[in-house]
Amino acid sequence: MNRQGFKWLSLGLLTGWLVIFVLFPNLMVLAVSVMTPDLRELVRPEFSLESYLRLVDPLYLDVVLHSFYLAGICTLICLLAGYPAAWIIAHTSKRMQAFLLFLFIIPFWTNSLIRTYAMKVILGNRGIINKTLMELGLIDSPIRMLYTETAVILALVYILLPFMILPLYASIEKLPSSYLEAARDLGSRKFRTFRTVVWPLTLPGVISGCLLVFLPAMGMFYIADLLGGAGNLLIGNIIRDQILVTRNWPFGAALSVTLIATMALMLWIYQRTLKAMQGGRV
């Protein structure tokens, strides 16, 4: 086969794939979100913005806001824990860096659903932590850890932390040490150097880390299912329930569109930040 043919074939396959499995389904979701729910037919092709209005219905708004809150706390913890970790990794020897990054990759070898079950075994009333504490005589009755907000946040952080550390590591590692030396040379102490030089220059890593944690966090319904109990639903749980249980497809679609729109907004802010930092010429 000639090279031109190969080029068009591979481009065509890729474009076809994206159109059929990404663009088309998303357009369907968008279309369904502005249609009318119908119990028998699932969707009636009549234009309606009712599903979007339901988003501000206190019943769902509370869940949506709580979901934002859980994902937000999770992102914050990942950032606070991940930044120092990424910094330390980036400032060890090349061999040590490879080893430490490898340690962060290992959990990916196990499906995250299975790892969530493992959390259940660890946190349960008769789980490893409670059993140990009781046998040591430190507590008389098990501490309730499972089916709490804390359990959900803990699991989200556990699953998503690598997605924060990897982009942070990439941007910290790229930061030339001469910038830090120049700041010291100009009389700046560590905290000021961090605030005025390191933080702004690693902001792209911070933002992409936050995007990679915040958005998936809201969708991980199985974590809320397994560890959260009724009070700790994520947007992902509502979407699944609307599609599979309540069978209100337009509302489920409207929720999905909202999530996608949030992501688009955050990506736009990310691009703006990048541009602003590089002096307008990118």
Binding site: S178, Q278, G279
Partner: protein, 367 residues
């Protein structure tokens, strides 16, 4: 010129520094005087940048003391030393404007913003970048970035300005221009400049004093002229400028300070203050421009080293020739162009006799 004894501004005393148990500096001493333009010159890996970084406080010496203006600053962190550095890569903060870059050091010292504005206006005028305040480093050329880096350092009015290979990233023409400008800025400010380079031409043209380093040791220090005309050893002779080095053996003393020496099969008088005696071996160093060349045609009897022309290169101002002596040793000769001399453009293979201006030779002990 004042005849006052120069005041030492920096004194390094018995500095030791090793990286991964590889010694870079051993018992290194150096004094830098107030207001001078001193250049640390040497091949890469000679420790010159390490000296600069130790003065800046960016590298901690293993032992030894550093004094700045009479105070011991050996353990003072970089941020508290009143010296500033112009980095090789400039290290301008890419997310800040030229103004904010230059203001960085003043803001750490909590200088009032009105004073900062005034000082930045002044320093930008000095480096000829007035009107560039709002630009970001990525929007500047290499030479302009270089000026901002200098401005960012000197605006803090340091006791000493350290420049680490600061011109090596610029192209030839711009480098020449920045050399002149650095000299001008130094004269204007009266600040001591410590400049690190591996470029001997740059060192010769800019410095009040050159410190030639190799393998963590000072080989020689002195004015550019002293370094060039009376190198202290073979390393300095080879590193600074072009040179022809001939082996010689002393035959006898002619008069105090003058010896007859055997060089390439002939006997020639050489001048040296070294305590030499018959049979001693020495090196005789001859700069290409100090050699004189005479063509030998059909049995002329010429005195001097004899050889044949191997190559010739017309350089505009000079004619550079490579001569193979009868022993096989090659000499470089650089003659100033003389239009009136019919013999000037030598044929390849031409027999020639080479002499030199008496007492312009430099005699070095055998190494």
């Amino acid at each position: 010129m004042t005849t006052d004894f120069p005041q030492a501004v920096i004194r390094l005393n018995a500095i030791d520094k090793a990286f991964d148990s590889k010694a870079i500096l051993t018992q290194f001493d150096l004094t830098i005087y107030d207001g001078e333009f001193v250049t640390l010159l040497g091949p890469s890996g000679c420790g010159k940048t390490t000296v600069l970084r130790i003065i800046a406080g960016l590298e901690q010496q293993d032992s030894g003391t550093i004094m700045l203006g009479g105070e011991i600053i050996s353990d003072l962190p970089a941020e508290d030393r009143s010296v500033n550095t112009v980095f090789q890569s400039y290290a301008l903060f890419p997310h800040m404007t030229v103004y904010d870059n230059i203001a960085f050091g003043l803001r750490t010292k909590r200088v009032p913003e009105t004073e900062i504005a005034a000082r930045i206006t002044e320093v930008l005028a000095m480096v000829q970048l007035t009107g560039f305040e709002r630009r970001k480093p990525a929007e500047l050329s290499g030479g302009q970035q270089q000026r901002v880096a200098i401005a960012r350092a000197v605006v803090n009015k340091p006791r000493v300005l350290l420049l680490d290979e600061s011109l090596s990233a610029l192209d030839y023409k711009l480098r020449k221009q920045m050399q002149l400008e650095l000299k001008r800025i130094q004269r204007q400010l009266g600040i001591t400049f410590v400049f690190v380079t591996h470029d001997q031409e740059e060192a010769l043209s800019m410095s009040d004093r050159i410190v030639v380093m190799n393998e963590g040791r000072i080989q020689q220090q002195g004015t550019p002229r002293e370094i060039y005309e009376t190198p202290a050893n073979l390393f300095v002779a080879r590193f600074i400028g072009e040179s022809n080095i001939l082996d010689a053996t002393i035959e006898r003393l002619l008069e105090p300070g003058t010896f007859l020496a055997r060089i390439e099969g002939g006997s020639y008088p050489i001048h040296s203050e070294l305590p030499l005696s018959t049979g001693d071996r020495v090196h005789v160093l001859l700069r290409p421009e100090d050699l004189r060349l005479q063509e030998i045609n059909n049995g002329d009897n010429q005195t001097g080293l004899s050889g044949t022309v191997l190559e010739r290169n017309y350089k505009g101002m000079t004619l550079d020739s490579l001569i193979a002596l009868d022993s096989g040793k090659q000499l470089q000769i650089s003659e100033f162009f003389d239009e009136d001399d019919p013999d000037f453009d030598h044929r390849l293979g031409q027999r020639v006799a080479i002499t030199w201006v008496p007492s312009w030779e430099v005699v070095l002990p055998h190494e």
